[in-house]
Structures are given as structure tokens and as C-alpha cells.
Symmetry: C2
Amino acid sequence: MARAARAASKSKGQKRRRPSAALSGVQSFDRLGSPTSYPRNKKIYKPGELAEYLYRVEAGCVRTYSEFNGSRRHIHAFYYPGDYFGLEANEHHNIAAETVMPSSVFRVKRTALAAQATRDSGVVRFLLHIGSLELQRTQNHSLRLLNGAQMRIVDFLREITARKPSAREIDLPMPRSDVADYLGLTTESVSRALTQLKKVSAISMSTSRRITMRDALLS
Amino acid sequence: MARAARAASKSKGQKRRRPSAALSGVQSFDRLGSPTSYPRNKKIYKPGELAEYLYRVEAGCVRTYSEFNGSRRHIHAFYYPGDYFGLEANEHHNIAAETVMPSSVFRVKRTALAAQATRDSGVVRFLLHIGSLELQRTQNHSLRLLNGAQMRIVDFLREITARKPSAREIDLPMPRSDVADYLGLTTESVSRALTQLKKVSAISMSTSRRITMRDALLS
DNA sequence: CGTGCAGTTGAGCAAATTCAACGCTTGTGG
DNA sequence: CCACAAGCGTTGAATTTGCTCAACTGCACG
């Protein structure tokens, strides 16, 4: 059950990484932890809490977010099965994480990982690896925020599509308000951008959550 | 000379880190590398290059950036003396780094660090530590991009001021176009925001690069 | 069968960009 | 030493973009 599909790398023109590089790290991770189930919209951790664990999504979807300017919310990332999260912490968490839908999350104690790291260098490479992935992801997100609303949405849809190499039909697990807070827009702007994309036949929607991409959109 | 002032932590309400935690890591870093001098606007590395080194600024200022949408530039960060950079890479760099002014940069081979890491766990903690700092920095930057122009500028000025606990007078090493590309604005908007801040006496400027903050601005 | 949440649409508005012009400083060549 | 070009910074006017406020729909759940 701890066997989840490895997330597809988001970096574009890069040489394929040898899976062996981080393999022993992953095995340690699998062995040292245990899965937990959460209902929808359940907080997994919040800012200020001691950062005891490192997490991996097994099933469902998780979002991390901060609040700013008093009451506005920014979603830093959505994590899908196979993704690791909870790394952004120093000693205490400084952002929050919660489920988008009923989800299963695998977690391991950081102390256990640290102990294992002293004798298994694979664990170290593993940690550094997912750390740098997270860093790249965050940097890409910053870039995304500099585009216009339309392009942000397209980027977002592409990001989701990239995880399912199979179909060009995707099923959003989150409401419009999440998409908006992820992209730094309002729900209205998200809605408008989507209807605009429909109008030019770049996408089609069977329900508001189920979107089919036209080939032209796939980079 | 490898002895540069430790950069002030940007996280707010957090317990002060024991310097001992990452100390042996820093010592290894100091011992394994060597400094290099660069003229102004000199590229240190660019996307696609093999990421051989980890860097620390000794003197001057360094910016990292990506290009997007064909020709626009986004500056991810400015690094000042004591700051580490070049960590964002997997195996090859995916962003570029160059000097803002004549600078001295200390660099150590990643292979040397990796070798040292297998027998000195302090190096591991050191690497993970600066990685998570970088992650937090990048996340904060995303948040910054969601505010209005005025607040982005104020945030930026505060970020700079925070490194010099002494004076509320700062000397920007970079031109307006860099500030603009860092904050996701145009140079015109940066200029306007600054003159606006002058108009309400939140700041004063002796030259366009030399800015004095009024107390009200210091959070 | 109503209440509430999610999503869409429209009209007016605020904010930042674009395009353009101009001042200041700096460095270079005559 | 002066003239002039280039880079940096500022300012103005017109335009575009996304936001705010508001209404309305469909759907799910009690």
C-alpha cells in the first residue's frame, strides 16, 4: 500500500534521473512510517506546530497554504499520490497543510529519518532530492504568478495533465476557490478564464470539475 | 575572509537556532572550497550547465533569475554576503546566477560535500538547513507577489533593512529594473511606488539608490 | 422543500501596464 | 575641455486587466 506511483518529474529538458539514486532512501521511508486516513478538509498540521513528520500522499489530495494580509489565503501547492510534503519546516511548521478530499497519508518521524541518515547515505540523497524538487516546484509557481490570468489557468491545467500521461481528460479534486487561491486570482476570474477557453475550443467541460484538454493546449 | 557575517534569519516568531547545530557543516564548507572574484554583471552559471558547486557570497551581491514567456526575466532572489546559493539545481542548473556588482564568491564542489557528508552528519544537517531556508525564502517571495505594488516595495525594503540591524538607511546595489523584475512589476511602477512613499514621508531618498526608512515602515 | 454552497455572468472600478517624453549622470572621443 | 551618446530614473496620458459588488443558476443535503 505504501507502493504509490512515482510522481512524474516536472522539469522539462532534463536527463532522466536514475531511479537507483534515491531508491534506498525511499525504501527506508517506506519501512519507517505508517499510513493515516483523513476526512475531507482536515488539517494535517498548522503553523507553529512542531514539525515531527515527513509525509507522502498515498491517496487523495493535500494542499499547503499560508494566510497573509490578515485574511487572504495563498495555496502553495497541491500534492497528489506519490508526492512528498511537509519539508518546508525548519523545526516548527510555518505553513499549514490540509486534505482537499478524503485522503490517505503516509508519514515517518523525522528523528527516525535522521537516525537512518547517519548510516544510509541513500536517505540523505533522498531527502536532498525531494528538497530540490520542492524548491523547483516553488520557483515554477512564482513564475506562474507573473503571467496573465488566462495563462495561469492554462499552466495549471497543464501541470495537472502532466501527472496523468494517459488521458487529456482531468478531474479537478478542488473547488474554484482553491484554484483561485493557488493562482492568485479570484474565483470569478478563474471562471471567466475557463469559459473563455471553452469559447475558443481550447478545452471542454462535462461538469465544472471535469475538463478535457484540446491538443493545442498540450505544450 | 571566509568569515562572513551570518545572514539574519528571515522567519519571524521562531526560536533562535543554536549555532552549534550546523556549525561543523559550515566549517567543512569553509575548508573544502575557495573564493573567486567576479566583475559586475558576470554570469556565474546558467541553465543547463552541470551543477558542480555550492556557493556563498563573500562580498558584493548576486542575483538568480529565469526567463519566461520568451523574453521576460524574473529574479528569484538577491544574495548578500553570508548567503548560500546554487542549491536549486538537481544535476543541472535550471536557473541562472550573475553578479549585481563586483563580487567575491566562495564555492565548494558538491562531490566534496557529498563525500564529507558520509562521515560528518553535521554537513548533512547544514545542507538540509540551508535548503529549508531557501524554500522558506521562495515561499515568502510568492506571497510577496500577491500584494499590491506599494506593499511589494515596502516588503522589499524591509527585507533589505532586516539584514542591517544597525541603520535604517540602505544602499541598493541594483538598478530599478532589477527591483522590478524581482517584484514582478515594471520599472515605472517601482518608481511611482517609491515617489508615492516619499510623498507620504514613509521614506526619503538622498540618491535614487540610497533610501532612508521612516520608523513607521519598520514593521 | 427550503437552505447553503459552488459556479457563472455582468457592470463599474481600481490598479498596473504600455507608450512616450524628458532630466540627470557618466563615460568616451574629438 | 567640451560635445554627445548611453544608461538610469522619473513622470504623464491612455489603455488593459483583473477585482469588487451584485445577481442568478444548479445542485446537494438536511
